[in-house]
Symmetry: C2
C-alpha cells in the first residue's frame, strides 16, 4: 500500500498526458495534497490544477512528466494516470488510455504523427468516422454545459444535442411540436410503436427504462433524433405529469437539454455551437485521408446551393440530382399537375413546354456550381400521383362541398360550388386512376418514361440546352444521364435512344459537341442479376441501395421502420437496420454479383452508390471492398464518407487499428508501477 | 397441268389420311367428279364423302389409300392430301401434315405408337400441353357448332369457349355483367387501358382490329378470357350500337358465341360440353408421360374437395394449402376480426381458442383426402387488414351515419346510431392503424407471426391435433409446415422453435409420434441469395414464384397487369408476362442460385414451386432443368404439368420434337407427285 495522506509531503492526483478536451500537449488533471485517490474521485475536496504540483513537488512533477511521456511512447496513446506521492516519492497506481473529446482525439492523432509516435495510417485508424461527424453538428456550448444543472445521466444511444419542453406522451409531443411549432423533448418511462408519431415530432427522446436496443433507442437512431435512455434516476409520474429526480420535480412543459453523445440530461435550454470544420488538425487529417483513399466521394444534391456546400465539404461530383424535386416547387407544381391531368398529347406537350425553361435554369445553376466535376442527373422517378393532392383529402373536401350545396340561398352560389365540385371531381378521378396498391413497385421511374416518352424528351432537352449554355460560358460540364428503376435492358435501350436523339438535335441546334454518359440505377434485384446484359446499354451503374434493400429484402421502409423492423432489432432478429447499414450478407452478395457481371461486359464501367448508405462508414467500407468507384451521400456526410473510405483503404492494405490497451486495470497498473519503480530507482 | 374436269372419268378431292376430328384411322375427306381443286375449296358444289370415290374409282381409291399410307410412313404424321384424277389416272397435287383437333392429335399419336410409326417419346413430344388442357375445359358442342351461323373469323388469341350478349363499351359490359348478372361478350374496334374493367367483367372479347400482341389479346390471355381479335369483316358502329358483317347487323344485346381456339364468332348461344378426361387414348398417353417424367406434380388446394379433385387428376401431394382461406368463411371471419381487434393478450387468446377447432377440422378433412401423400400447410400469410372491412367503405358509412344524426326525432334513435358510430369508429381506427403504403412488402407472413407468436401456436396445435386424430383413424399423414415470406434465417429459427414446442406438447398429450417436416417459402430475393444459410433451418424450400417475381422484378402484379406491363408486352419490351411464364433470364438465375446454395447445405433438400407458374409448360420445363423435386399448381392444371414434365425429361435426355414437314408447299407437292408418278407407273 502507498499512502498519499501521510501529511503535507504526500498527495494524490489524476492526470491526462494531454488535454482531454482540446488535445493540447502537456499534463492536465487534478491534484490534492495529503489525500487518497478516492478524495479526488469523490469530489468532496476542492482539487488543484496539476500545475500547482509543479510548484509544490517540482521533482515529482518532473518525474511525472517524464513518466507520462514514456508511457505515451510505450502505448502510443494519451494516458490517464493515477498517482500518489508518499513522503515525496512518486508512485503510479494505474495508467490507461484516456477518454477524450472528438476534437482532442483528432488533434492528438495528428500531433502524434508529428512527434513520430504514429504513422499517418494509424492516426487515421485511431479516429472514428463519428468523431469526424462531430465537426458537422451543433454541440452544446462547453462553458454553458459546465455551468448548467445536470439532472441525470443515462445511456448515450443516439448522438446529437437537443433542447425542448418536456412532453410526457406522444400526442402532446406531436400537438406541441407539429401544430404549435414548439421545441419538444419527449420523456417516457419507455416507448412503444404507438409512440412513434410523438418521437418523430420531438427534437429528442428521454426514457427512464430500456437499454441500447430498446424501442426508444432504435427509433431514435433510425430518425437521427438525439436520445438518452435508461435514465434510472428519473421517476416519471404520468398522472401528475411530472418527473422527479431526488428532490427535484420537472413539470411537463419545462425546458430541458439532452446530450446524446454523453448521455446527459440538463435543466433549461442550453445554447449550441457548431464546431469548426476548418479546424487545422482536422484539415490535416482529412488531407492525409484523401491521399490514402481510392474510393471517391460524391454527394446527392438537387440544387446549386447544396452542390456548392457539398463541394466545400470535399465532394468530387454529384452522384444524384433528383429532378422531381424541381417540380414540387410552388411555381412549378401547377404546371406539372396540368401535364398529369392532360387527356391528350397536345395539352401534355404544352405543359411540358412551360416546364422546360424552368428545368433548364436549374440545371445551368447546378453545372456552374460543379464546374469540372461530374453531375449525375436522374430523370423523373416518383409515381405521378405524388404530384396531385391526396385523394382522401379530396374526398373529404368534396363531401363538404356537397353538404354546403343544401344551404345556399342563391343560384349563383350553387353554380359556383358546382363548378368547384366539378374541378375537384376531375382531380379525384385522375388521382384514383393513378392509385396503386403498392406504389413502391408501381408505375414510376423508367416505367413512367416508357408510357410518357415526352417526359424523357423534355428533360433531356433541358439538360443538353443547359449544358450548351454553360459550355459557352466556359464551364467544364460533365453530364451523366441516369435512368431509374430499370429491371430489363430493353427499357434502358429505349430510353437511351430517346435521350440520344434529343441530344443529337440539341447539339445540332447549338452547333456544339456535348459529351455525356448514360447509365442506370441498379435498384431492382433483376437488374443486378442481369448486370452483364444491362451493362451493354449502360456506361455507368449507380446502386440505389435504399430501393434495392426494399426489393431484395421485400420490405417497405416507410411501413417497416415504425413497425416490425423495430421489433426485429429489439429482439436481435437482425443486427442492424438494413436501411442504415448495408446488409452485406444478403444485399451485399447481390451487389458483388452485379459489379462482377457488369465489369465482365464493360471493364471500365463506372459504379457508385447513391443513397443514405453512402454516408454510413460500415457501408462505405463494403463499397471499397467490392471495388466501387464512388459513394454518393448527403452533403453533410461527405467528410465522414471520405474518412471512412480512407480507413477502408488502409485496412484493406493490411493495417489494423491499434489494439486497445490491456483490459485488466490491475495488469496495467502493475506494469506501470514497475516502470515507475525503475524510474524512481534510477 | 392435270385436269380433273375432263369429264366423268375425272375428278378431284382433298383427303386426310385419318379423321381430323377424332383421329380415327381411314381416309376422310371430300371428293368431286369432273371438277378442279378450286371447286372443292370454294364450296360452290356439293361434295361427296371420300367413300363415294371407292365406288366410282375403286382402283384410284385403292391407290390413294396406299399412297396415303406410304406418305404417313414417310412423314410419320397424318397427311392432308390434294389429288386429281384425270381420265382415271391419279395425280397428287400436294401433301402436308394435316390440321386436327386436340382429340385427334392425341389419338393419332397413340395409334402411331401402336403402329410402330412413333416411339413413345416422340408421341409425347408431338402433343402439346395445350392439347392436354383441351380435355379440362368446356368446348362448344361439335354438332351445335356445325349447325350454328358463323359470323366471322379472326385471330385465335386466347383459348376457350364463351357465350354472351354483345356490349360495345366497357361500362355497359361491366354494368350488365357485374350489376345485372348477365353473360356478356365485349365487342370493340380495339381496346385500351380504359377498357380493362369491362374486359374483366365480360366472358369473352372480340375486336375488329389488332393482332396477337394487341392490348385486347394480351389482356384476354392475362385473365384467361376467350378472345378473337382482328375480325376484319366486323364493322362496328358505336353510334348506332351495332356491328355489321356484310348484310347482317348485330345489335347490342344480341347473343353471340366465340371460340378462342378456332378464332370464330357465331351467332346465338351455343351449348358447351366438357371433353372426357378419361378418354382412353389420353389415359394411355398420360401413363407413358408419367413413366418418363422425374419431376413430381403436386397441387395447390385449400379444401378437401379441391384436394380430392387434384388427386383424381394425378396430383402426388398438396404443395400449398393456404390456411387463411379457412378464416375468410362466413362463420369464422367475425372470430378472426375479434382476434385482430383484441387490445390485449387475453381477448386475443380467447378468439384464437375458438378458431382452433374449426381449423383442426379443416386439416383433418385435408389429411384424409390426401392419405399417404404429403400435405404442405402454409401458416398465415396475408396482412391482417385483409380480414377487416375496407377503410374507404367504413369512412363512407360513418359519414352517412353522422349525417343521419341530424334528422332523428327520438333520443333512442340517436343513441342507437351513436352506438353504431362508435363500433364502426373502432373498426376504422384499427384498419387505419394496419394500413400500409405497400402492403405487398409489409407486415404479413412470418413478420406477422413474429409479432403474434400465438397465431403460430394456434395453427401448429390445430395441425398436429388433426394429424393425431387422422393417424388414430389409420390415415397415413405426411405433414409439412411451411413458413411464408422469410427473408432472414432468424425468422425461420424462431418460428421453428415455436412449432417444435407446440408439436412436442401435442405429441405428449396424444402419446404419439407425429413425424413432420418444417420448411419455408423462397419468395423474397434475399432468402434466395442466402439459401445456404436458410437451408440450415429448413427441411424444404418452396419457391413462391409469384411473390418472387414481384420482388425480384420490383413489380406489383395487381397494378402492373392492368397498367405498364401490358404496354411492355404490346411493345415487345418483354417477350412474356413474367407472372404467367417464369422469367428464366432474371428470376431463373436467382432460383438456380438458390437451389445450388440450398443443396450445398442440405443435399437432400426437397425443393418445389407453388404458384401459377407450376401449371405453365415452359415454366415446368425450367423447373425440371434446375432439378426441382416437384411443381405444385392448381388442380385443373395438374394433367398439363404432368405432361409438360414428361416432355421436359424427354427433351433433357436429348430427344427433339419431329421437325415440321418442309415449309414450301411446292417442294412438298413436287416430292409427292414424284412418288405418285412412280406409284402410278408401277
Amino acid at each position: 500500500m502507498v499512502f498519499g495522506n501521510m501529511g503535507e509531503t504526500s498527495g494524490t492526483g489524476v492526470v491526462m498526458s494531454r488535454n482531454p478536451s482540446t488535445g493540447e500537449p502537456g499534463l492536465a488533471g487534478d491534484f490534492l495534497v495529503n489525500a487518497q485517490g478516492e478524495d479526488v474521485v469523490a469530489g468532496t475536496r476542492q482539487t488543484f490544477e496539476i500545475d500547482a504540483m509543479a510548484k509544490r513537488f517540482p521533482e515529482a512533477y518532473q518525474q511525472l512528466c517524464d513518466i507520462a511521456d514514456k508511457l505515451e511512447r510505450h502505448y502510443r496513446n494519451m494516458q490517464d494516470i493515477e498517482f500518489t506521492i508518499e513522503n515525496g516519492v512518486l508512485w503510479l497506481l494505474q495508467t490507461r488510455n484516456g477518454k477524450r473529446t472528438a476534437a482532442a482525439e483528432v488533434r492528438i492523432a495528428v500531433d502524434m504523427v508529428d512527434e513520430g509516435l504514429l504513422g499517418r495510417e494509424e492516426a487515421i485508424l485511431r479516429v472514428s468516422p463519428e468523431q469526424v461527424d462531430f465537426y458537422l453538428h451543433p454541440q452544446f456550448d462547453e462553458t454553458a454545459r459546465k455551468e448548467a444543472k445536470l439532472i441525470a445521466k443515462g445511456l448515450n444511444v443516439s448522438p446529437g444535442a437537443a433542447v425542448g419542453m418536456v412532453a410526457f406522451d406522444a400526442d402532446t409531443a406531436q400537438r406541441w411540436a407539429r401544430d404549435e411549432g414548439k421545441d419538444v423533448i419527449m420523456v417516457r418511462p419507455e416507448t412503444k410503436p404507438d409512440d412513434v408519431h410523438g418521437m418523430l415530432a420531438a427534437n429528442g427522446i428521454v426514457t427512464s427504462r430500456g437499454g441500447r436496443t430498446s424501442h426508444a433507442a432504435l427509433v431514435a437512431r433510425q430518425f437521427g433524433k438525439p436520445a438518452v435512455v435508461g435514465v434510472e434516476a428519473l421517476e416519471i409520474d404520468l398522472n401528475d405529469r411530472e418527473a422527479r429526480v431526488g428532490d427535484m420535480a420537472i413539470r411537463e412543459g419545462t425546458y430541458i437539454s439532452i446530450d446524446g453523445v454523453r448521455g446527459e440530461v440538463y435543466l433549461g435550454s442550453l445554447p449550441t455551437v457548431i464546431p469548426d470544420i476548418q479546424d487545422a488538425w482536422l484539415t490535416r487529417l482529412m488531407e492525409w485521408a484523401d491521399e490514402f483513399r481510392t474510393l471517391e466521394v460524391w454527394a446527392n444534391a438537387d440544387y446549386a446551393e447544396d452542390a456548392t456546400r457539398a463541394r466545400r465539404l470535399g465532394a468530387q461530383g454529384i452522384g444524384l440530382c433528383r429532378t422531381e424535386h424541381m417540380f414540387f416547387e410552388e411555381d412549378r407544381l401547377p404546371v406539372m399537375q396540368e401535364m398529369i391531368m392532360a387527356r391528350n398529347h397536345v395539352d401534355r406537350e404544352s405543359a411540358l413546354d412551360r416546364l422546360l425553361p424552368l428545368q433548364r435554369g436549374d440545371f445551368e445553376q447546378l453545372f456552374r456550381a460543379m464546374d469540372g466535376l461530374p453531375v449525375v442527373v436522374r430523370l423523373l422517378d416518383p409515381p405521378l400521383h405524388e404530384f396531385l393532392p391526396d385523394h382522401m383529402e379530396l374526398r373529404r373536401e368534396l363531401s363538404e362541398l356537397k353538404l354546403k350545396l343544401q344551404h345556399f340561398d342563391t343560384l349563383r352560389e350553387i353554380d359556383s360550388t358546382l363548378e368547384e365540385i366539378r374541378a375537384k371531381q376531375d382531380f379525384l378521378e385522375r388521382t384514383e386512376e393513378l392509385l396503386e396498391s403498392n406504389p413502391m413497385l408501381g408505375t414510376r421511374g423508367v416505367r413512367l418514361a416508357m408510357l410518357l416518352p415526352e417526359l424523357t424528351r423534355m428533360q433531356s432537352r433541358a439538360l443538353f440546352q443547359a449544358a450548351a449554355q454553360c459550355m459557352r460560358e466556359g464551364v467544364d460540364v460533365k453530364v451523366e444521364v441516369m435512368i431509374p428503376l430499370v429491371s430489363e435492358v430493353n427499357e434502358l435501350k429505349t430510353q437511351r435512344q430517346i435521350v440520344a436523339a434529343e441530344a443529337a438535335q440539341v447539339m445540332d441546334e447549338e452547333e456544339r459537341e456535348i459529351p455525356y454518359k448514360l447509365g442506370t440505377m441498379i435498384e431492382i434485384p433483376r437488374a443486378a442479376l442481369m448486370a452483364d446484359v444491362i451493362a451493354v446499354e449502360a456506361e455507368f451503374f449507380s446502386f440505389g441501395t435504399n430501393d434495392l434493400t426494399q426489393t431484395t429484402f421485400g420490405i417497405s421502409r416507410d411501413d417497416a421502420e415504425s413497425g416490425f423492423l423495430i421489433h426485429y432489432l429489439e429482439h436481435g432478429v437482425l443486427d442492424d437496420n438494413p436501411f442504415q447499414t448495408l446488409d452485406r450478407k444478403g444485399i451485399g452478395r447481390l451487389m458483388r454479383t452485379a459489379v462482377q457481371l457488369g465489369r465482365e461486359t464493360r471493364p471500365d464501367l463506372e459504379i457508385g452508390i447513391c443513397g443514405e448508405h453512402g454516408g454510413d462508414p460500415k457501408s462505405v467500407e463494403f463499397c471499397h471492398d467490392i471495388g466501387l468507384n464512388y459513394v454518393s451521400c448527403s452533403p453533410f456526410r461527405v467528410p465522414v464518407a471520405r474518412f471512412a473510405a480512407a480507413q477502408a483503404a488502409i485496412q484493406a492494405a493490411g493495417w489494423q487499428p491499434m489494439p486497445p490497451a490491456p483490459r485488466d486495470p490491475k495488469a496495467r497498473a502493475a506494469k506501470a508501477k514497475k516502470a515507475t519503480a525503475k524510474q524512481a530507482a534510477s
